[in-house]
């Protein structure tokens, strides 16, 4: 080790803004390729809305991954359960959903979301205690047991709700678009963007302005040292796991409303996409996860429009490109 002195100047820490500029650069590059400005705006808004929903679902997973080095392939189960729990409120109160009033619509969507978050949060505690706790530090077993958990959850949903796809109409006031000249912006996409931004800002606030947030950030970086300071990281992890599961539930309801349907494999379908986002962002990084989700959604939307066949592999190609540039993701937090 080279000798160091206390008196030497503190190296400046430039803010790493290159990853933040990536979505902007990508959007600008796509403008001439897409051709039509109105189509470009529509695709960009669609990407941002989709990215926010993916971020909501993935944000908990990145902290779980970073904090406890747990590979939870069962995260999709919370998305699916959240979506189904949402139908328990939204379908019986269809009259409120179909009402023309935004207030009436929100009065039914809000409890649906809260119930979904409460149930998935509680389920997260059970999942962590029963399935995750026995396999701490054993990655292969984690993959097997959490994938098993996802399959069991999916089959339970089939058993309880049946194999059919359940239509879930978007509330009336959230249907349609705002028209600005040639540009059409779907109302629900704006709502999704707003919710995603609130979740992101809320997460950043908690992580940067509270002691719990400091502990989570410290735990992601060095779990052992946090324990050596006298904190029970497993309790902290349980709280993070519960919050992550609740966010997955929120994402599940939002995604189901976006697709206007619910089926048991909704979580399974999103699992790989969410893992790609978490890996692109850097394990444990909420900001990285946020940017990764937007990038994945952009590549998916622009790619789907320009080269439809490419859409099948665009996420993987994006991940490969990012990892070749930054092998530990956009914002590396852990050494894993």
């Amino acid at each position: 080790m080279s000798e160091t002195t206390a008196g030497e100047a503190l190296p400046k820490q430039p803010l790493d803004i290159i990853p933040m500029l990536l979505p902007v650069a990508l959007a600008l590059i796509m403008l001439p390729l897409v051709g039509s400005t109105s189509t470009w705006v529509t695709l960009t808004i669609a990407s941002l809305a989709m990215g926010m929903m993916i971020f909501i679902m993935a944000s908990g997973l990145t902290l779980v991954f970073g904090l406890m080095d747990v590979l939870n392939f069962g995260h999709g189960a919370f998305i699916a359960v959240g979506a189904y729990i949402g139908t328990l409120v939204l379908l019986p109160l269809a009259a409120w959903v179909q009402a023309d009033s935004l207030l009436a619509n929100l009065a039914v969507v809000a409890p649906a979301v809260l119930l979904a978050m409460a149930v998935t949060g509680a389920l997260g505690i059970v999942f962590e205690r029963v399935l995750i706790q026995p396999v701490y530090g054993q990655h292969l077993k984690q993959i097997l047991i959490t994938m098993g958990g996802l399959i069991v959850a999916e089959q339970l949903l089939y058993a309880l709700w049946g194999p059919q796809i359940i239509p879930l109409p978007l509330p009336t006031a959230l249907r349609g678009s705002f028209i600005f000249g040639d540009v059409s912006i779907a109302k629900y996409r704006l709502l999704a963007m707003a919710v995603g931004l609130i979740v992101f800002l809320g997460s950043m606030l908690v992580l940067n302005r509270t002691k719990i947030g400091l502990l989570i950030r410290a735990g992601v970086e060095n779990r052992e040292m946090v324990e050596a300071l006298g904190y029970r990281v497993r309790r902290l992890f349980l709280g993070v796991f519960m919050a992550g599961s609740a966010l997955a539930g929120l994402g599940g309801v939002m995604w189901a409303l976006y697709r206007e349907q619910v089926h048991a494999s909704i979580g399974n379908e999103l699992t790989i996409l969410i893992f790609i986002v978490v890996i692109i962002g850097g394990l444990g990084s909420v900001t990285g996860c946020f940017l990764g989700a937007i990038l994945v959604a952009m590549v998916s939307n622009y790619g789907g429009f320009l080269v439809p066949k490419l859409a099948l592999v665009s996420d993987i190609l994006l991940m490969v490109a990012i990892l070749m540039w930054r092998p530990r993701g956009l914002y590396a937090v852990t050494n894993r």
Binding site: T5, A6, L215, A218, N222, L229, G230, Y231
Partner: protein, 240 residues
């Protein structure tokens, strides 16, 4: 003088490797005990075992009359044990202030205590709001020690604090450790630099191949050059 910490027949395995083979020694209350030995002798593992980070496979560890070998690391820390690992393990994404906020377990930081720390580690005040990851090696070591002493601790476990540091910083660290000792703390210090050990150690335990091979006072070991060479395998010059 009573022993604050005592280890008896402690064995530790890490994976399939048998690292500690029945470690026996005691740390008298209010004293600085040096744990010396060649690289790979098991010094760091001994500290980690006391801290519960590499749990003992067998044997007993007693802290202030309480058996701690089966306790979880956070419980051991809450008994008043501060730990400064060899890697320093500062939270690089957090500021100096945030690192210390987390280390202050009993509420807000005590300003008088903070001023006491700033007294021998002025860079901590200067870089209060800087990210710990941007500090130099010496500053990180200061932060790591500051974190361990931000509140009074019964026992401090410090692992090679002078490793890789410039002589001027080593002198500052020795002053700091003396000051901590004067405050009444009991210290178990792993150190490769024999001059540092001589300067601050009261008693000494020397390890080799996962066992304690010598116990005594630091003063006796300092006077006995042949014993130093036999136990530590290096001439005194090599330690300077």
């Amino acid at each position: 003088m009573t022993d604050l910490l005592s280890l008896s027949g402690v064995t530790t395995h890490i994976g399939r490797y048998h690292i500690l083979h029945g470690v026996d020694f005691a740390v008298p209350e209010g004293q600085t005990t040096m744990l010396l030995g060649r690289n790979g002798a098991g010094k760091t593992t001994t500290l980690r075992t006391i801290m519960g980070l590499s749990p003992a496979s067998s044997g007993t560890i007693t802290l202030g009359g309480t058996r701690i070998e089966a306790m979880a690391t956070p419980d051991i820390a809450m008994m008043g044990v501060g730990y400064v690992p060899e890697t320093m393990a500062v939270f690089s994404d957090l500021t100096v202030k945030e690192n210390l906020v987390l280390a202050a377990r009993n509420g807000p930081m005590d300003q008088a205590r903070l001023d006491w720390i700033f007294g021998f580690f002025p860079p901590m005040k200067k870089f209060w709001l800087s990210r710990a990851g941007s500090l130099s090696g010496g500053q990180k070591q200061m932060l790591s020690i500051s974190r361990a002493i931000i509140e009074p601790r019964k026992l401090l476990l410090i692992d090679e604090p002078t490793k890789g540091l410039a002589p001027a910083i080593v002198v500052a660290l020795i002053d700091c450790l003396r000051e901590i000792k004067r405050s009444g703390a009991t210290i178990l210090l792993v150190e490769q630099n024999f001059r540092v050990a001589e300067a601050i150690g009261d008693s000494v335990a020397v390890m080799d191949n996962g066992r304690i091979v010598h116990r005594g006072t630091m003063a006796d070991l300092s006077r006995d050059t042949p014993l130093q060479e036999r136990l530590l395998g290096l001439s005194l010059e090599a330690h300077q």
